[in-house]
Symmetry: C2
């Protein structure tokens, strides 16, 4: 009786949510220290000092009506300026406050951008493995989704396969680097090739094709930083969130940056404002907008994620697991010991190790391990997965 599609989106069991609830039950039964839960991409490192300091400063010195009041739809002017300035300074890329639209986080950045760019039936291409909500967001925006597999084992984009998937209806390709769930960072070379391929597809079909660069993990990078996509490809819209860089995922704060080099950039920005309005986003949360303006150059202390990454990677490869070293985010995408990832992850529960089958990310035969946890949890998970490995060996 309600809208069937919305009902399905709400009622569908989510692999991650189910594992999360299983974990809660096990923690209650055997104690949290005995459960090695690598299922959730939830930051485990405190926000930086500057974030807490700014929050307190605003609460102490600002007028409450202005601090908690409406900002204009696209965001508070000083915040938009701070972000535009940071883009100029960090990426040597032109950006004005009028190119920045503040959002309630990464998901909002994506739904607003998709609704602004897509007409009913337009094509949106996803590179698998991908964050499963992309499909939900794109379909709700009326788009048709097609999926192109990245190349194992390092999960870099397959330009040839991507090229074959672009047709006369394609409106956008979502690029998520550093990637959830693989941790892959798409290098400059492959991104240049991707941009040049899209340029020629635009000419071939006489139509703008956008890169939607979903970059909540940009700051979580352990080797070279990913290239700044707007510098490589004109028709780019960047979707950003401070959830991971500042460890404040519940505060729902991010932005959309419509590259001024994009064709019809001003009209696209207006459509972003219109989509934000029509989807029910009046403005991004006001207090957080003001705090963000003070923190645009800061991140949590991600050296701890790096330690976790190295520890987990070594533990898994020493055991014998096939893992491509992830350069960013806080995930390892590991090849399971049998083709059915769900069965493998189910067996890992015997050792109280909780990991997510790759299937829901479009990465069959793999499992996602989130290492945004404490060191003991990683050590316990390695021990458990090592016993599981021996089990599989004995069955050979």
């Amino acid at each position: 009786m309600p809208n069937e599609k919305m009902y399905a989106f709400g009622a569908a069991p989510s692999a991650i949510r189910e594992i999360f609830e299983y974990g809660n039950r096990r923690r209650a039964e055997i104690g949290a220290e005995n459960v090695f839960d690598l299922s959730l991409g939830n930051p485990s490192i405190e926000p930086p000092e500057s974030f807490m300091r700014s929050l307190k400063k605003h609460l102490e010195s600002d007028n409450a009506l202005s601090l908690f009041g409406y900002t204009s739809g696209p965001g508070a002017a000083p915040t938009r300026k701070a972000i535009a300035d940071s883009i100029k300074r960090r990426f040597s890329f032109e950006a004005e406050p009028s190119d920045i639209y503040m959002t309630c986080g990464a998901a909002a950045s994506l739904t607003i951008t998709l609704n602004a760019l897509c007409d009913e039936g337009d094509g949106v291409v996803l590179l698998a493995p991908f964050f499963p909500e992309y499909r939900v967001f794109a379909e709700k925006a009326g788009a048709r989704v097609s999926v192109v597999k990245c190349k194992a084992p390092d999960f870099q984009p397959d330009i040839e396969a991507l090229s074959a998937a672009i047709d006369k209806n394609t409106r956008a390709v979502i690029i998520n680097s550093p990637n959830n769930p693989t941790g892959a960072v798409y290098g400059e070379e492959v991104m240049r090739a991707l941009a040049s391929m899209l340029e020629s597809k635009q000419k071939e079909f006489g139509r703008d094709i956008f890169i939607i660069a979903d970059e909540p993990y940009r700051e979580l990078c352990y080797t070279a930083a990913p290239p700044y996509i707007p510098a490589l490809y004109a028709n780019t819209v960047v979707c950003y969130s401070y959830s991971k860089s500042l460890s404040v995922p519940g505060e729902r704060i991010g932005y959309i940056f419509v590259s001024p080099r994009a064709h019809d950039a001003k009209r696209i920005f207006a459509a972003v404002c219109g989509a934000g309005r029509a989807l029910g986003f009046v403005c991004a949360p006001s207090l957080m907008q003001k705090v963000i303006a003070d923190c645009v150059y800061d991140t949590s202390d991600i050296s701890k994620y790096k330690e976790n990454r190295d520890l987990l990677l070594k533990g898994l490869t020493d055991t014998g697991y096939e893992v491509s070293p992830p350069d960013g985010a806080f995930y390892v995408f590991m090849k399971c010991l049998e083709p059915a990832a769900t069965a493998f992850c189910e067996r890992a529960k015997k050792y109280e190790v909780l990991i997510v089958p790759g299937d829901s990310f479009g990465g069959e035969g793999y499992a996602r391990l989130a290492y945004c946890v404490d060191k003991k949890t990683i050590e316990g998970a390695i021990a458990g997965l090592s016993r599981l490995y021996k089990e599989y060996e004995q069955e050979k």
Copy 2:
């Protein structure tokens, strides 16, 4: 090139926004104290002490990762429980935490509810005058909008006209009481008649018809409180926001309450969860969810709005204007001195009085005066409107 409809929503000049910008220019030119701006529905009374106290308490004593972390999609359990308890206690109406879905404010409550309830082409009925964003939200959800005028001068629902507007495709009627822009509070008698009419329409068409009760102004009431609609009509979904009651409109925090008496209530709740997900709402802002749990029985000191209301009402009626005393919200809906409200409001600018033509609210020939301002602004506006009245008199 972007989505044309989203572009139109973003590029369309908004009457309120244009007046707001005109006001900013005039304030810069002649000083804020000489501009009598009654154009904006922005709270002018500080949040209650309990709000600030709770905010500081959480910042001092909570763990940052949990304070700023994801809550579950429908919201933090203690917040949902506090709200459900407050509904039980305040309205003697059954409510469980599992009936409450936390949102990023009133607009989000409405878009999520509309997307959850409506299929493409379903009818949504609005009672004019109405908040103009309703049309945007409903159309984006795929609904067809029809408008039924309320009865002047007190702007109560016209049950007969409403009954005639309900057809076999109608899915919902949006009820906004206390009303923006009229300040009308729909009384118990008319709401009972409306409920009973909808009951018989449901039977006639063999189909559920919902009341979407948009109630951000419920606490801003100067005579009798409006009846609690779920107690009168089973198929009700309440959309609430703390923007006005706690004077925190920029913080984007509210809820949806799916009445447990609604047909298929559990499925509707699942569809609400699905729509929230598909529109890009991951969870409502976390810190504010925690603060709200401490403030569900509190409001700003609305006695000041009452003083403003009485002052403005007396000033206008003494002058000779036709005004029906508004019982709630912070608006007076006044009959203009000529049929063209836009021309009348334009002439008011001569006296530096800024008011919004009723046309964009579906209330032609009227103007909205927002009295959430300080006393001096109201006095200046009365003086200016009184001179304007004399001008019109002399032209007769």
